[in-house]
């Protein structure tokens, strides 16, 4: 099978890339997605808008309609197993699609948060909870504990309550040596204060108003209240850390270790009955398909990501990246990145009379989406993006140097 562009991943980044290049360049586009329906994680998200909830599925359905209207062919329930220059994309049925351009938009996955009992049925990651609650409208359990305290954990806690579930609390994990997840109450409060100062997410902003002055000050001077703190209605159980999850053929309880008002273990435990547990260990960019790209490790964007330029090209000709595979951010940023990658490919195909202006405009839209992001996952994302830009400039400089050396030798 031959086409102009293969897009891998049908979330907001992949859909926007596909639509943009199909519309601008009249390109043939095949989009491959392993979900039963395209949309990626956005399909299961509820976003806080200025005027209430924005339903991710509605946004996604709009993006899918736009893609189909410009002739994008969407292959759902299909996997890409590998691809090689430039470019043969191998699908799960043994079929190969050949195209001069590939966009990798494989998104993010969750870091595991292992602890004793975490493999019991009924213990699930945030993504599973999002799908169950918001796509399938099913309560994973009647009494639920959320473990891990980060923006995603607060969001799912709110969605559990919204769906009518009983939330026994949002807990810290006891933490294991080397685990990157925060397990110190004050470190968590400080991270929330940083995040909310950085991006005005309504959920965190309301928390920040509480935290910035009286409560954080109280916590520092008088210690953590016995019942923990409430942020936007979410009970943060800052005096209890989850040490293990218990059950037989499924989860039945969590055992928490009590902390004193300063956040130090008191050496006593308590057993809390639950029938579902949601673990939030944070997100990382999925590099299942990019192992042979030049990857750079930038913790500020969430880990290892492909080296890429301001227009989302990689050093390999015709290979582009977009969305969370380049760093952990929200759906609006991913969508703007997809449009940028699509614009860059259309420009390389000669679709525009003013390609530079089009690219600058698409890049500006990514920056705008970032600046107005309702939810920031990583506090230093801007620094991380700057670091990636520097790495690209260094790569280009080395490339030019290499080319000059090459000429000299001839």
């Amino acid at each position: 099978m031959n086409t102009d562009v293969v897009v891998i991943g049908g979330g907001p980044a992949g859909l926007a890339a596909a639509t943009t290049v199909a519309r601008s360049a009249g390109a043939g586009v095949i989009l491959v997605d392993e979900g039963a329906q395209p949309g990626g994680r956005l399909r299961s998200q509820l976003l806080r808008g200025d005027d209430g909830w924005v339903v991710g599925a509605d946004v996604v359905d709009g993006l899918v309609r736009e893609a189909e209207a410009v002739g994008v062919r969407i292959l759902s329930g299909r996997q890409v197993w590998s691809f090689e220059p430039d470019w043969d994309v191998a699908l799960d049925d043994g079929c190969t699609v050949r195209a001069p351009h590939v966009v990798v938009a494989t998104g993010a996955a969750e870091r595991p948060l292992p602890m004793p009992g975490w493999t019991l049925p009924g213990v699930m990651a945030v993504g599973a909870f999002q799908s169950l609650l918001n796509t399938h409208r099913v309560l994973p359990g009647e009494r639920v504990a959320v473990v891990g305290m980060d923006p995603l954990a607060l969001a799912i806690a709110e969605e559990i309550i919204l769906a009518g579930g009983e939330l026994v609390g949002v807990f810290l994990p006891a933490g294991l040596p080397g685990q990157s997840v925060l397990s110190e109450p004050r470190a968590v409060l400080q991270s929330f204060a940083q995040l909310s100062g950085f991006a005005p997410n309504p959920l965190l902003r309301s928390g920040a108003r509480l935290l910035e002055h009286p409560l954080l000050a109280t916590v520092v001077s008088a210690g953590i209240p016995r019942s923990g703190l409430r942020i936007a209605g979410m009970p943060l159980r800052l005096r209890q850390r989850v040490e293990r999850i218990e059950g037989d053929d499924r989860v039945r309880a969590i055992t928490v270790g009590n902390l004193d008002r300063r956040g130090r273990p008191r050496g006593t435990t308590e057993r809390i009955r639950v029938d579902a547990v949601c673990l939030s260990g944070g997100l990382y960019p999925v590099q299942d398909l990019t192992a042979r790209c030049a990857l750079v490790d930038v913790p500020e964007v969430g880990g290892r990501v492909p080296l890429h330029g301001p227009d989302l090209r990689t050093p390999q000709r015709g290979l582009y990246v977009a969305g969370n595979v380049t760093g952990i951010e929200g759906a609006p940023v991913a969508q703007a990145q997809g449009a940028l990658a699509g614009t860059a490919i259309a420009a390389s195909m000669g679709a525009y009379r003013d390609p530079e202006a089009r690219l600058r405009e698409a890049e500006a839209r990514v920056r705008l989406a970032r600046a107005s992001a309702p939810l920031s996952f990583l506090p230093a994302i801007e620094e991380g993006r700057s670091r990636l830009a520097e790495l690209w400039r260094a790569h280009e400089a080395a490339d030019r140097h290499g080319a000059q050396v090459g000429h000299g030798a001839q």
């Binding site: 493999t119 599973a128 799908s131 169950l132 099913v138 359990g141 053929d249 999925v286």
Partner: protein
């Protein structure tokens, strides 16, 4: 797992009632369910066992962890979280073999 009959933001249940077969028994699902949901609402939480015999169910819910593998219409190793149900689909979990 329990269905949310009327979600505060999203409204009533999507899809239509359909019949599936779970470990040989007729069961009710909805046309928009994933296989994982059809199993969960019918009380099947243990989908398979680890090599050391520990029970396993849905974990990541997005196709990454492969913990929720079941047999669908004789096709083994199907990720229950990704596959959508169909009328008269036959779903078999490993626990049935025990």
């Amino acid at each position: 797992m329990k269905r949310i009959e009327d979600h505060g933001v999203l409204g009533p249940q999507p899809g239509e009632p359909i019949r599936v077969w779970i470990n040989g028994q007729a069961a009710q699902a909805r046309s928009t369910d994933s296989v994982a949901v059809a199993l969960g609402v019918n009380g099947h939480h243990v989908l398979r066992f680890s090599r050391t015999g520990q029970p396993r169910g849905v974990y990541c819910g997005i196709g990454h962890c492969f913990e929720c593998r079941v047999t669908v219409d004789s096709e083994p190793g199907v990720r229950a979280c990704l596959r959508r149900v169909e009328h008269d689909m036959h779903i078999d979990t490993e626990s049935a073999a025990r």
